[in-house]
């Protein structure tokens, strides 16, 4: 992607790889599953074997199939929630930052109120009042989660918009006589993209956590297979205390992996926004090869010249201060 030039560091590549793998799993997981996740026609409490890679539950269901099928519900809810929340935070954050004055006060107040209310308890209260048939609907759950997850993004986007608002190119567009919504969406919005992407990933991360938590408490339909319901059933059948690690560890690891992947990609975006965060720009191996000091020098942001520097110093690469 050209607009978002992510640094090609191993961290970011690893993150992209993990996220890509799980997105693929979301799409093809249910077809890969060897058995139906709800079928109870196996022996109960089997340990992992060639037939059942992750053993069976105390009801005789294949855990590996549950894991594969569960990927879809988990990811779909997270993506729905992430998208809706991002739309909300862009609308509110950009409007507040650009309009300023009274609208800004009102919208900032709104997002501050939502930030201050602890999300999960609110989510539990809302969810516990939902009719049972809506609890199995991924979109309803996603919408509710997005309701508690948009405020942080709105805050960050507002700050960024405010810093962009007075830049020269926006001023120029205003003088030309561009319409207000055009300035907001075609001049300012593209410059918000890195911040936006970062807040989207963060919201997806939050949504996975929130959804899994709701499912773990038993507040989503236990008939829909996702990683949270797997943990719910494992906990309900005392799997952790009876050492059935193959039941409750795999879904937890999957959740953690998706989260790590998203966070790693986010690092890349952070480093794109603030280049100082890059691990000094040069890997330690390059440093050693070039004979540079191992420690970063204070006040200097080292830059590696790829083109030949003017012939002042015969060294092929050198540190320049910025």
């Amino acid at each position: 992607m050209k607009i978002l030039r992510l640094p090609k560091s191993p961290k970011v590549l690893l993150g992209l790889g993990i996220v890509g793998f799980f997105i693929l799993l979301t799409i093809i997981g249910p077809w890969l599953a060897p058995y139906s996740p709800s079928a109870t026609n196996f022996a109960a409490n089997l340990t992992p074997s060639a037939h059942h890679w992750l053993g069976t539950t105390s009801l005789g269901q294949d855990i590996y199939s549950q894991l594969l099928v569960g990927a879809r519900a988990t990811m779909v809810v997270a993506l729905v929630a992430g998208l809706v929340a991002t739309v909300l935070s862009v609308t509110i954050g950009v409007a507040a930052g650009y309009l300023g004055g009274l609208p800004d006060d009102g919208l900032s107040l709104l997002s501050n109120v939502f930030l201050a209310i602890p999300g999960l308890p609110l989510l539990i209260v809302i969810d516990s009042y939902l009719p049972v048939n809506s609890r199995s609907n991924s979109f309803v759950i996603g919408l509710i989660i997005s309701l508690t997850g948009w405020a942080w993004g709105a805050r960050v986007l507002r700050a960024q918009t405010m810093s962009l608002r007075n830049r020269d190119f926006v001023e120029a567009a205003r003088i030309i006589g561009e319409k207000r919504h055009r300035i907001m969406f075609t001049e300012i919005a593209p410059n918000l993209l890195p911040v936006l992407a970062s807040s989207f990933l963060f919201t997806v991360l939050y949504s996975i956590g929130a959804y899994v938590t709701l499912a773990y408490i038993g507040l989503t339909s236990t008939a829909v297979w996702n990683w949270g319901t797997m943990l719910y059933w494992a906990q309900a059948n005392n799997a952790p205390l009876s050492n059935e690690w193959y039941w409750f560890v795999p879904p937890g690891i999957c959740i953690a992996l998706v989260g790590t992947g998203l966070a790693l990609v986010n690092f890349g975006i952070d480093e794109f926004i603030n280049p100082r965060l890059r691990a000094a720009g040069i890997t330690s191996r390059q440093r050693r090869k070039l004979g540079l000091p191992r420690r970063v020098r204070l006040g200097l942001t080292p830059v590696l010249r790829t083109t030949r520097a003017p012939r002042v110093n015969p060294a092929p690469a050198k540190l320049v201060s910025q």
């Binding site: 602890p118 773990y216 408490i217 790590t260 970063v296 006040g299």
Partner: protein, 326 residues
């Protein structure tokens, strides 16, 4: 002082929103859950209890919405959170027993996590590019694990298999609760594992935030100046760290809500007698008055914690005293 005033009014407004949501939610949801619940309960509870439950929801449904709202607010002001359906006791009294456990557990772990995370973040930021950087992906992994899952795994490994820690609850059956050393020591012993698991899951956020701020600070002129003056390295690090920690503290008040949300579930895993455990029971039993009471109490507690963090921030950063920023 203006800033404190603005924050206070923000929190007052937030509290009001939470209360209003609490009031409106049962009425706006499809199928009117409260009506259903009251219908289900008729005949099961005494008329006096029924009356109390109705009052806590804002009186009889024959009145208009607005007068119900007024009744609801008056009841809250008198500290009446309603009567728990399953436990048969006033919600306020039930909460009084479990809130101290939660505040103790989560408050203590948050302080440790913030202190240790900030310290580690300062070091990481200072030694950027060194081998310590490999800590970052590990920390991210821990951060991505849901709190309750990490708690479960730690319970399994360290308590039930290795027997390093006691298994469940907040204190042993053998001691009598009270302010004596035996009991306090016992509570600390039982709290170790839950505290460690909360600290492990929440520390990465503080660490990474501090690292990023520290890196930005290290590039500032005043740090270069301090080095040029020949100050010892420890003093220079303190110089930079003191400035880098400010955004972390400013964020503290916003992050408390998130940490509390995650940590509530740790109580569930460890059978800790706090609000989180209570909340689960209430959800399972569809005990609406209790759920709502817990939500309100958690929200109000978080708001108080926010206010404390704001005051600390104000005391540390003189610039905010003149410039009002919400």
């Amino acid at each position: 002082m203006r800033m404190i005033g603005r924050r206070l009014s923000l929190y007052a407004l937030t509290a009001w929103v939470a209360i209003t949501v609490n009031f409106l939610l049962p009425r706006l949801m499809p199928g009117n859950p409260v009506q259903t619940m009251i219908g289900k309960l008729t005949g099961q509870v005494t008329p006096a209890e029924m009356n109390a439950i109705q009052l806590s929801f804002g009186g009889s449904f024959k009145h208009g919405l607005f007068s119900q709202y007024i009744t609801y607010l008056t009841q809250l002001l008198h500290g009446n959170f309603g009567v728990s359906i399953t436990l048969g006791a006033p919600v306020g009294a039930i909460l009084r027993e479990s809130v101290p456990w939660t505040v103790g557990l989560i408050g203590f772990s948050t302080i440790i996590s913030f202190a240790v995370g900030t310290f580690a973040g300062a070091l990481l930021g200072w030694t950027r590019g060194s081998r310590l950087d490999s800590l970052i992906p590990a920390a991210t992994f821990f951060q991505a694990i849901p709190y309750f899952f990490l708690g479960t795994v730690m319970l399994l490994v360290f308590a039930s298999n290795l027997h390093w820690f006691p298994v469940l609850g907040a204190y042993s059956q053998n001691v009598t609760p009270g302010w004596n050393w035996a009991f306090v020591g016992n509570v600390i012993r039982y709290g170790e594992l839950p505290v460690i698991s909360i600290v492990l899951s929440s520390i990465a956020g503080w660490m990474l935030g501090m690292r990023n701020m520290m890196i930005t600070m290290v590039g500032e002129d005043f740090v270069l100046m301090a080095v040029a003056k020949g100050l010892p390295r420890r003093k220079v690090i303190m110089h930079a760290a003191r400035n880098a920690v400010l955004p972390s503290i400013a964020n503290l008040s916003l992050a408390i809500g998130l940490v509390v949300s995650g940590a509530l579930l740790v109580e569930l895993v460890f059978n800790y007698p706090g609000v989180g455990d209570l909340l689960l029971q209430a959800v399972l039993n569809e005990d609406y008055p209790l759920i709502q009471g817990i939500f309100l109490v958690i929200t109000l507690t978080v708001l108080c914690a926010n206010l404390i963090a704001d005051v600390v921030y104000l005391a540390l950063d003189p610039r905010t005293r003149t410039e009002a920023a919400v």
